[in-house]
Amino acid sequence: MIITLQFQKKEKPQESKNFDQDYRLNYQKKKKQSDEQCSLYEQNKAGIDELPDSSEFIYNLETKTAKKKLRNLWKNPQAKKEVLAGLARMDRGELVPRNQKDFKGFKTLKEIKLTRTRMLIQPGKNGAPDEILAIFMRRDLDDITSNFKNKYK
């Protein structure tokens, strides 16, 4: 179990890029400020420290199956690359609508669909970051669904 300082959800810059010459610089400053508005969140990365921190989401891979499936995925270089790219897009708020769906059979969970990998998300409430509950290969969907049946709504 890893405990890290996690941040409140960052506000997206509202200014027009055309009128802000120092947009990138200001964005970085604002992100840093946002990152400094810390509150304590507990994270569980299943021992995969390469998973990047974000102010948009935290990791809570708490079930044995979720941990095992992530560790298996991490042995596949292409899948790992896809997940890291997907997380970077999530951090920047760049996921397209086709990547996100309600997770069938669960009222509260969302599914992030990448090409060969999937993530299950518990959307954050009241400004809290989203919780990533599972990251797995597409072929492990059935195992994860069965595992999550009695644990999540």
Binding site: Q78, E111, K113, R116, R139, D142
Partner: protein, 114 residues
């Protein structure tokens, strides 16, 4: 390969324009997760991602419409004989490059001998 169960793992938003994961259980109780989508969905992917091609690694069965009947028909076709194409869809992203390199080398040698 005999199929025991075919189940849509997600709700379909548009039968003409969507992609879904389909759970396919064989008679031994093993479950494959197969991506099934429509041509329109691939076009939408390219538009949303602002690319001129579908990303590498997109292993999907393409159907005209995402109806239970058509998807079942397609899955049955992929599962024919020893289920080679169904298995390829399940494991294509995990085939070690050395296997492909070996096939390429064998074919190369075969052409040289010809």
């Amino acid at each position: 390969m005999k199929i025991k169960r075919i189940e849509f793992a997600e709700e379909i938003t548009d039968v003409n324009n969507d992609n879904i994961d389909v759970l396919v259980e064989n008679e031994d109780g093993y479950t494959y997760t197969i991506g099934v989508g429509t041509p329109q969905d691939l076009l939408e992917e390219m538009n949303q991602e602002k690319t001129n091609f579908v990303q590498p690694g997109t292993i999907m069965i393409i159907v005209k419409k995402l109806t239970k009947e058509i998807v079942t028909e397609a899955i049955q076709a992929y599962a024919e004989d020893d289920g080679y194409w169904l298995k390829l869809h399940q494991f294509a992203d995990s085939i070690d490059i050395s296997i492909l390199n070996k096939l390429e080398a064998e074919h190369h040698k075969e052409r040289e001998e010809f």
